[in-house]
């Protein structure tokens, strides 16, 4: 198990490096930040000055070399926009995205597992059909549309919830609810399918022959076996949220990593973009390790 994680870590460091090289050079292909940061009527001299100040006048390879040197000290450079260390700006945004992602995924996990398992237990019944319809709608409705409609109904129409911003727990309700819908729809389907297969397994027959009650039959005997494919899909969905939900964060004015990223890209704030990508990549790597550990905990055949 530890060996497995070690192997993963080495492979991940390699992919992080490749990713960094790609992003560094590709972002510089998009053009010159001086054009965007300085006023339209800025003189060529002012632009020259701006580039020298930020080291953008050097050859690209030299810039890359300096960048690598700084990176060795975990220095991702300065944000052009905010004139603060890029890493600080990124971590600040991440402090908003991480809880948003965690709360959403926790809710998705609980709701999807309970509803999906019960639907699988009574396939074809009313409850199963209801869950299928809800999940299908959830998995296929575009989140920006749901976000806007939710604002219209709950914020403007009923006036129950704030339209945007952060500050009080109430501000979190709409972003979490909107982000919840898609992964929920998808994961419910996976749980249902996986549980359906697991319920056909011979060991379930054994449990029934033992006189095990229905609830432990589903949630103890079957669920742990049915969870393995579910974890994989949940990981994919969580990765999407850890990347920052660009659209939902923008609509609700939520100061997360997705919003920061899109703003920085539009402004060619290279250092922030790079730092944000490295931090999200690291987060996703950690999550994958956690998934591997979860696999091992759920299935002893992987451990022994």
């Amino acid at each position: 198990m530890i060996k497995l994680i070690g192997q993963r870590a080495i492979a991940s460091i390699f992919s992080l490096l490749v990713l960094m090289v790609l992003v560094f050079f590709l972002s510089r292909l998009t053009g010159d930040p001086a054009v965007l940061f300085l006023p339209i009527d800025a003189t060529e001299q002012m632009k020259e000055e701006f580039r020298r100040l930020h080291g953008l006048d050097r050859p690209v390879l030299e810039q890359f070399w300096f960048y690598l040197q700084d990176l060795a000290y975990l220095d991702f450079g300065e944000s052009l926009r905010k004139a603060r260390p890029a890493l600080e700006v990124v971590l600040e945004a991440y402090a908003w995205t991480l809880p948003l992602a965690l709360i959403t995924m926790a809710l998705v996990m609980v709701a999807a597992i309970v509803l999906g398992s019960l639907a699988a237990f009574k396939t074809g019944g009313f409850f199963d059909r209801l869950v299928s319809i809800i999940s299908l709608i959830g998995a296929s409705a575009p989140d920006f549309w749901i976000a806007i409609v939710a604002i219209v109904i709950f914020s403007i129409g009923l006036g129950w919830l704030p339209t945007s911003g952060v500050g009080t727990p109430v501000h979190w309700i709409l972003p979490v609810a909107v982000l919840f819908i898609r992964p929920f729809g998808l994961v419910v389907q996976v749980v249902r399918g996986s549980m359906l297969a697991a319920l056909q397994a011979p060991y379930v027959k054994t449990a029934r022959a033992k006189g095990v009650k229905n609830l432990p039959l589903i949630f103890v005997h079957t669920l742990r076996n049915g969870m393995l494919p579910v974890i994989t899909v949940m990981g994919d969905q969580a990765a999407a949220l850890l990347n920052g939900a660009v659209i939902v964060e923008t609509i609700f004015g939520f100061p997360g990593i997705g919003k920061l990223m899109i703003d920085s890209i539009l402004q060619r704030d290279f250092n922030v973009v790079l730092a944000a990508i490295m931090v999200t990549a690291l987060a996703i790597f950690i999550m994958n390790v956690l998934i591997d550990i979860a696999y091992g905990l759920l299935d002893p055949r992987i451990r022994y």
Binding site: Y203, R208, V212
Partner: protein
């Protein structure tokens, strides 16, 4: 006979499937008393498991529908009681064990947890359950019970898993134990041990045992009474001796006649030329010696059987000599040329001359190819054989040779029965006009009567076409009927080799003797005699 403990009366169950209603069992009646063993004997699809599943409330409806009948236990009709009443009886009063203990134990929980749950599910305190589990695990012969409790199913051998299943079933001292093909997946020596254990435990607890089996030998060994089922109906019932010696129904007689191991023993023809000569062939995986210094020869039209228990290296031997696995050392001479060192081009030619037939025709036949495509495919690979316009005629000829008919040519594998599918696999092998066919457990998955037919087919091919066979099997009865020479393998080594008559009638090695003793004879008297001689001791 004492009063019946459990009585099944006029039970009829239908299965509603997409292809219409199937009458799984019709008017089935049987009963079992305390301390008695009743065997339900039947081939696949005979409905032998249906009544047991109805007793345990394990039939899923839909598709199953109980049309009529009653199941009387303890003054109640089990078909009328509530789900909760059923749950309370299951495991506590009536317990069940199954064919495949690996699949029937939950892979993600320790066996201790699963065995203890048998009692906690019925409201008994955990510490009491733990204590009883330890006792029973020791009783069924698992070493280091404390440690075994913490292990997971995949960490045990097949025989140990079945012992653990038995321990679990006996936790609450049930009145009735239903055993559904409990030894079918086990090696013969392990089978004998598990059956002996079941008998001992039955004697200790005086429970009723309902044994569901397709194997006449197992039934003869353990049962007091038999009911024989065919196509959902009971065709015969009586004591083991009555059924074996005085069967009234033609089906029962056919079944008994088909039991392997009764025919004349073949004598190897020493004058025919040697086709294949294997010399000191070895293969290991890391430090595990799967095959050590195997040497033997196969002559034209010879039928050589390789017997041994799982893990003895039978299949490794076949795969290594065909170069499907790389040998560590040794030589395999095919008509004088070393197969292990020849060029890829030459090897392709040999691959045509040596064909394989596998155990499970359901898996070895591509479900998306028609019979014609399956049989003719090899001709494209080897770029020879009949011209395109003659192919259909040749395929039909091959089908007729293996006992199928011309109309079958455009059908797909799922439209055939297991025995027919194996015939298709044999026709596919014959299409390339091989000189040697390696059958890897080719008849093990088939019902006894079908088995006998396939064996007869292979033998006629051997005689008519002069094809040689390497016949890998664990069923000694089948081997005795088919082979003229036998190789006995154990732990990667050949322990004994000789003409079939010598191996079966005058075995030298203790392992061969043990193997033969474990092989259950369908004749209950033969079995009783063997027991009296203490052969199992």
């Amino acid at each position: 006979m004492s009063e019946a403990l459990l009585t099944v009366k006029n039970l009829s169950v239908d299965f509603h499937t997409a292809r219409g209603t199937v009458h799984a069992v019709r008017n089935v009646s049987w009963s079992v008393s305390r301390g008695e063993t009743l065997a339900i004997l039947g081939e696949s699809g005979s409905g032998k498991s249906v009544s047991a599943n109805a007793i345990m409330n394990l039939l899923d409806s839909p598709p199953a529908e109980i049309v009529s009948g009653e199941i009387l236990y303890d003054g109640k009709d089990l078909l009328k009681i509530s789900q909760e009443e059923h749950r309370a009886l299951n495991g506590k009063k009536i317990a069940m064990i199954f064919q495949d203990p690996l699949g029937h134990l939950n892979p993600v929980y320790s066996v201790g947890w699963q065995i203890v749950e048998m009692m906690t599910a019925h409201g008994r305190p955990h510490d009491l359950a733990h204590k009883r589990a330890l006792e029973l695990i020791a009783r069924v012969g698992i070493p280091e019970p404390e440690k075994a409790m913490r292990k997971y199913p995949h960490q045990f051998s097949g025989g140990q898993r079945q012992r653990l299943m038995i321990a679990m079933a006996l936790m609450l001292k049930p009145d009735i134990l239903i055993a559904d093909e409990p030894t079918t997946a086990l090696d013969v020596t392990i089978q004998a041990e598990v059956l002996a254990l079941l008998k001992e435990l039955q004697a200790e607890t005086d429970m009723a045992l309902v044994l569901i089996s397709h194997d006449l030998g197992v039934v003869a060994e353990i049962a007091d009474r038999i009911v024989v089922m065919n196509e959902g109906e009971i065709v015969e019932s009586g004591t083991v001796r009555e059924v074996y010696h005085e069967a009234k129904h033609p089906y029962t007689r056919k079944l008994i006649a088909a039991a392997p191991g009764k025919g004349e023993i073949k004598i190897p023809n020493r004058s025919s030329p040697i086709l294949l000569s294997v010399e000191k062939l070895s293969k290991s995986y890391h430090s595990f010696h799967a095959l050590r210094d195997a040497s033997f020869t196969v002559a034209r039209a010879q039928s050589l059987a390789i017997v041994g228990e799982s893990g003895s290296g039978k299949s490794t031997l076949a795969r290594t000599l065909l170069r499907l696995e790389t040998a560590d050392s040794g030589h395999v001479y095919w008509k004088g040329k070393d197969l292990l060192t020849m060029s890829a081009r030459e090897l392709l030619g040999v691959r045509r001359e040596i064909q394989m037939v596998f155990q499970d025709p359901t898996q070895s036949l591509n479900p998306r190819m028609s019979v014609y495509e399956l049989i003719a495919e090899g001709w494209d690979i080897h770029k020879l054989m009949p011209a395109r316009q003659e192919r259909r005629a040749r395929v039909i000829e091959l089908l007729e040779q293996v006992g199928l008919i011309a109309e079958h040519i455009d059908r797909y594998p799922h439209q055939f029965s297991g025995g027919q599918r194996q015939r298709i696999a044999i026709a596919r092998a014959l299409a390339l006009e091989p000189e040697l066919i390696i059958c890897d457990e080719a008849v093990s998955a088939l019902d006894v009567s079908i088995q006998a037919q396939v064996i007869a087919l292979l033998d006629s091919l051997r005689q008519r076409l002069g094809i040689s066979f390497i016949f890998i099997a664990h069923d000694l009865g089948v081997v005795r009927d088919f082979a003229d020479t036998v190789i006995v393998m154990k732990a990667g080594e050949i322990v004994e080799m000789g003409p079939t008559a010598q191996i079966f009638e005058a075995p030298r090695e203790p392992y061969t003797k043990k193997l033969l003793a474990s092989n259950l004879d369908p004749d209950p008297d033969v079995q009783a005699k063997r027991r009296a001689m203490g052969i199992y001791a």
